[in-house]
């Protein structure tokens, strides 16, 4: 296992690629001569995909969506952690706020779209705010849980060494709660993508969700399929980026768990 020669590498690649290749090939050949209006040949879809999304106009369609998602998601993450740390640290605050937070979290985020339109109209603020409001709860509640479950012994050690203030937060509280915080961030990411698309489908003049609805309403079927595939690719790429960041920041934690399991 330690040295990966050419033969195992080929085998591993085969294992990874066999089913995806088989599925795509099935789609390709099954749809090759397709006369169905809704299910055009995969070849047509892919040609449309290349034409549509590897063009200068594609940036105009996709960039606003991703910018709104980035702003809303990062704001939600910062706010969620900033509020979650003090709430998690104080039992009284937690008791008072927990039912309210559980209720707010339980509201299905897409209903925020019509609600927030009342306040901000249909502009960029609405879409970014919808994402903030939808993404904040998983981060917040997981931060609360993570801070609450900090190691008692370590907390005593930190106190005995009179480590306080920012150093305590940065070296003890945040790292200790980070596995939980990341679990919340992961949930929030998929909610954020849903809200990015839904807010644009509901009311927008640009963005990928808007483009998708336009294609569907004008029966531009290959374009619609190309848009669906693009959204899928965006979802996959964002989750890969997330996982890379998580592996980088939580590397110590996974290492710890592995060594604990080995013992």
């Amino acid at each position: 296992m330690s040295s990966i020669g050419p033969a195992p590498l080929v085998r591993r690649l085969t294992v990874v690629l066999a089913l995806p290749v088989a599925l795509v090939a099935t789609w390709w050949f099954a749809s090759a001569g397709s006369q169905s209006f809704y299910f055009p040949p995969l070849q047509t879809i892919l040609q449309t995909f290349l034409k549509l999304w590897f063009s200068p106009q594609a940036v105009e369609k996709v960039a606003p969506s991703l910018a709104r998602l980035a702003i809303g998601y990062l704001a939600a993450a910062l706010l969620g952690i900033a509020i979650g740390v003090p709430v998690g640290a104080s039992r009284n605050l937690r008791n008072v706020l927990e039912p309210v937070l559980e209720f707010l979290r339980a509201i299905p985020p897409p209903v925020l779209v019509p609600m927030l339109i009342l306040f901000t109209g249909v502009g960029d603020e609405m879409k970014a705010l919808v994402i903030v409001f939808g993404c904040i709860w998983p981060v917040l509640l997981n931060t609360v849980a993570g801070v609450r479950a900090l190691d008692d012994v370590l907390a005593e050690v930190v106190r005995s060494y009179r480590i306080g203030g920012f150093a305590r937060l940065w070296h003890f509280v945040l790292p200790g709660a980070s596995p939980q915080i990341f679990a919340g961030l992961r949930q929030s990411l998929s909610i954020g993508i849903i809200l990015m698309v839904v807010s644009e489908m509901f009311a927008a003049s640009n963005g990928i969700g808007f483009a998708l609805v336009q294609y569907q309403r004008t029966f531009a079927i290959p374009e619609m399929w190309a848009g669906i595939i693009l959204l899928g690719v965006i979802g996959i790429v964002l989750s890969l980026i997330f996982r890379a960041i998580e592996a980088w920041i939580l590397g110590w934690y996974y290492g710890l768990r592995r060594s604990q399991r080995a013992n």
Binding site: L19, P20, A106, P108, P110, V111, F202, Y215, I221
Partner: protein
């Protein structure tokens, strides 16, 4: 004995205190929602006072449309949820039980899972319009993965020694699933069930808001565009209450189904101490 009794009352009063504090929090939240529009921090046109929302809610509950919308949402939720859980559990156990299938399907599952289910909205609309099937496509696509992934983790978690023991005692494949795989997988499955319950509701409401399928989400977007703001908030609160009930229900189910499981026993010991 007296010490134990004192401990018990102390625990009871701590729990009562937490309850009262939680109620105070909810009351405070309602109070803020009442005052903010009244003093003009936010226009009452956008956010009516809480009392007006509650009044609208009570009035809505006397109408047939409210109950029809509630019923439609819950029906879409229930059908989608059950399909996802059954399909996720069965496919997860089949794939998980075979190392070959597991390695072959891993990349495909990792690839398909992060695809946002809302990407399927245009396709669902073309095929089924605003019928129930559209909602079900979205709900099942989103919830199925939650269950499947958990079940796959669970099946992988089966103790190899237990598996080998079962095999040496001559247990057949069905008996192995029943007595070895299933008990280990159950806690993971219950986590998947809890996640799927919440995700199914989100997607059912999404479909109603965006596609206009029958249900609470459609009422929310209709009342919003019709300017009946208090009623809209009443419906938003109803969706939140449903969400809370589903969460609590899933957790209660989890506790009940897993009452025998060490993780739950540990939990009660900790809660008692």
């Amino acid at each position: 004995m007296p010490a134990e009794a004192a401990k018990k009352t102390a625990k009871l009063s701590a729990r009562t205190q937490a309850w009262l504090q939680g109620l105070a929090g909810l009351a405070g939240f309602a109070l803020v929602l009442e005052i903010v529009p009244r003093v003009g921090l936010v226009s009452p046109l956008y956010l009516p006072p809480f009392s007006a929302i509650v009044a609208a809610l009570f009035e809505e509950t006397t109408r047939g449309t409210f109950w029809a919308a509630l019923g439609a949402t819950m029906r879409a939720w229930a059908i989608g949820f059950v399909i996802s859980v059954v399909a996720g559990a069965v496919i997860g156990i089949v794939i998980g039980s075979s190392p070959l299938l597991r390695t072959l399907t891993r990349s495909t599952i990792e690839f398909l899972r992060p695809i946002p289910s809302v990407a399927l909205i245009p396709l669902a609309v073309l095929l089924f319009g605003s019928q129930l099937q559209s909602t079900l496509i979205l709900v099942v696509y989103a919830s199925f993965w939650q269950v499947l992934i958990q079940v796959l983790y669970g099946v992988q978690d089966v103790d190899p020694v237990a598996r080998e023991t079962a095999r040496s005692y001559g247990l057949g494949p069905w008996a192995q699933i029943r007595y070895v795989t299933w008990p280990t997988t159950l806690p993971y499955l219950m986590t998947g069930v809890r996640l799927a319950a919440a995700v199914s509701l989100i997607l059912a409401i999404t479909s109603e808001v965006v596609i206009g399928s029958q249900g609470l989400g459609k009422e929310i977007s209709d009342t919003q565009s019709g300017g009946a703001v208090a009623i809209m908030y009443a419906y938003v609160i109803v969706t939140g209450i449903i969400g809370v009930i589903l969460n609590l229900g899933a957790r209660a189910l989890e506790r009940r189904v897993l009452a025998w499981h060490p993780s739950m026993r540990l939990d009660t010991v900790e809660a008692g101490g």
